[in-house]
Symmetry: C2
Subunit: 361 residues, 2 copies
């Protein structure tokens, strides 16, 4: 071999090794596995809510061919069901699945992104989120906390709750001990009720032993397995959570480090899991309600009388005005929701409502 | 260089080249671009419907990092708006976006997968598709034709149409010339109306010159730009398409050749684009209805009188029974839809309907 030939071989070898290294690095980049940890507020195998996180993680893994893997820790693992906001903010977890209104004691304006009393129905609210400015307002609230928030699944319409006695007037609410947390609880308190919060595992006993007179939980999709229909005959139609949207939280720094295709896979997996949960909740509600009706035909569905509804509305308006007066962003969000609801509801009334009225004739 | 050293270099070189080739081939496999062609029934830049296909293709491309590229041909390109079924079946196109009920003359049972008169609302119908057996029944109809069918976007509730004169009795329908295609047209014919189909571009003139007395199109989301509210004062609430779902078609052979991760990316892109279109249609309906009301405050929203609704229902039942008697699969689909609707509607009535009734008080 001449020196020239030797040099040529050497150059080729170097070039081949370089190319090889480049290809290897590119192949490794494409194969790099991103492992994210998600903390959910719910216990293990929590129906419907827990299905949403599993569905999301499965879509993300399958669409990314295994490059995006999301481990789900339920509350029994991380022990902090209402610590999800802080754990994702700090980076202890990369993602969370929870309810925005749980953080209202910490960041008051998070209140507005689950469901508001006398607010929008699920499809109306999705339209507000995606086409009416809702997403922008939600992230205006969350981004300063190093968080991104996304719709995380709708529980579907929530019922007004299970009552031991009929409610015929505002007077019947005075002194009424009811498990009803959050903003709706504040409204009930305005009317003289005694709202309390009780851990889910103790609700049945509390209602059975008359420690409380009434409670609201979700709706047929989740109420059936709690058994409330066996011990409280009156099931009131809803007003306080017409379409509660859960939320996915993502740590902003974690999001920024994902390649663009995995960001899109994660975004769409969360969006689709949210929509899917809404539809699953419709299904489970229909399914479970038909079972309650069959097993307990004496369950009585009641509307609160107009006098009570008017008083609830007035208390709601009063409390909202107080929030708006304290905080310009609260005022901006309230106005956006009220304007949007007014517009979309006029349509809902001549379409869905007119149809349901005609069908019920 | 000794011979031994020379051989060692040669061996290394061969090994490096082999490794390099392996890496390159693996990188190329991961980078292989799949280019699919989609034919849609709609014209170019058709609002809402056309947004669904663009949204789907964009998600697929971004989530696959460019490995799945879908070219959309609208009707002005392929010239066969109602030939989508055949073009995807034969493989001339890989995918389609259309409406299932357009194929009822060819495959009668395709009728059931868009929307049925007096049928389910959009969320109820999604629940039937995904959790109540609807997807399985739809593919029982489509698979024998080398096709897979997926929900492709909901138009939202469709209005009953624009009328020159009020309809006060079944007699008012006799001889009424109305643009109302499909199964709903057959029902109207049962009651003595003269249903016709007219190309969209000629609808306004036909209604203005009284060539027809009435027409149905979609709802505010698409009716506004057609201008019907300027020439027909009565806008009737709907009964015949309570939630029309469009469809994506995929050629079965094309689907089978996609790698598993791209199948999942395609499936989720179609599913999400469908949900998104539903929510966009809610938004556009609310938005456009508020504009119609502002510009034309004299538009009168009317319900057909109960007598007319009862007659329409009876004609619908009669025609459905005829279909069921001819075909066991038609009977199976009808029963699945009727049973599901009964169950889910009982829930809708105590939730959404009760809420809307209370809110309207």
């Amino acid at each position: 071999m001449t020196r020239m030939a030797h040099n040529a071989v050497k150059k080729t070898l170097v070039a081949v090794i370089a190319t090889s290294a480049l290809l290897a690095s590119s192949a490794f980049a494409a194969d790099k596995v991103y492992r994210l940890k998600l903390a959910e507020t719910w216990g293990p195998n929590f129906p419907v809510f827990g299905d949403a996180t599993k569905n999301m993680a499965k879509m993300a893994e399958e669409m990314s061919n295994g490059r995006l893997q999301i481990r789900i820790d339920s509350a029994n693992k991380h022990k902090a069901p209402l610590g999800v906001f802080d754990m994702v903010k700090s980076g202890q977890y990369d993602m969370g699945h929870s309810g925005s209104y749980y953080w209202k004691g910490k960041v008051p304006n998070t209140l507005y992104f689950t469901s508001m009393p006398f607010g929008m129905l699920p499809a109306e609210q999705y339209a507000w989120f995606y086409y009416g400015g809702g997403m922008e307002l939600m992230n205006k609230v969350y981004n300063p906390h190093n968080l991104m928030s996304f719709p995380g699944g709708n529980t579907e319409f929530q019922m007004g709750g299970w009552f031991q006695k009929e409610i015929n007037s505002v007077d019947d609410l005075k002194g009424l001990k009811m498990r009803i947390p959050g903003f709706a609880g504040e409204i009930m308190a305005e009317l003289g009720a005694k709202p309390t919060n009780i851990a889910p595992g103790e609700l049945y006993t509390a209602l059975e032993r008359r420690t409380i007179d009434a409670l609201e939980w979700v709706g047929p999709s989740l109420d059936l397995r709690m058994g409330f229909h066996k011990i409280a005959p009156y099931y009131y139609t809803g007003w306080h959570e017409p379409g509660s949207e859960l939320q996915f939280l993502v740590n902003k720094g974690v999001w920024d480090k994902l390649p663009a295709d995995l960001q899109e896979i994660l975004r769409i997996s969360m969006k689709t899991a949210a929509y899917d949960m809404y539809i699953q909740a419709v299904h489970e509600s229909g399914q479970n309600w038909s079972l309650i009706k069959t097993d307990y035909p004496n369950v009585k569905v009641k509307n609160f009388p107009p006098e009570v509804m008017d008083a609830l509305r007035a208390a709601n308006d009063k409390l909202l005005a107080e929030h708006a007066a304290q905080d310009p962003l609260a005022k901006e969000i309230q106005k956006s929701q009220a304007d949007y609801k007014k517009k979309v509801r006029a349509w809902t009334d001549i379409s869905t409502k007119a149809y349901l009225d005609n069908e019920a004739e």
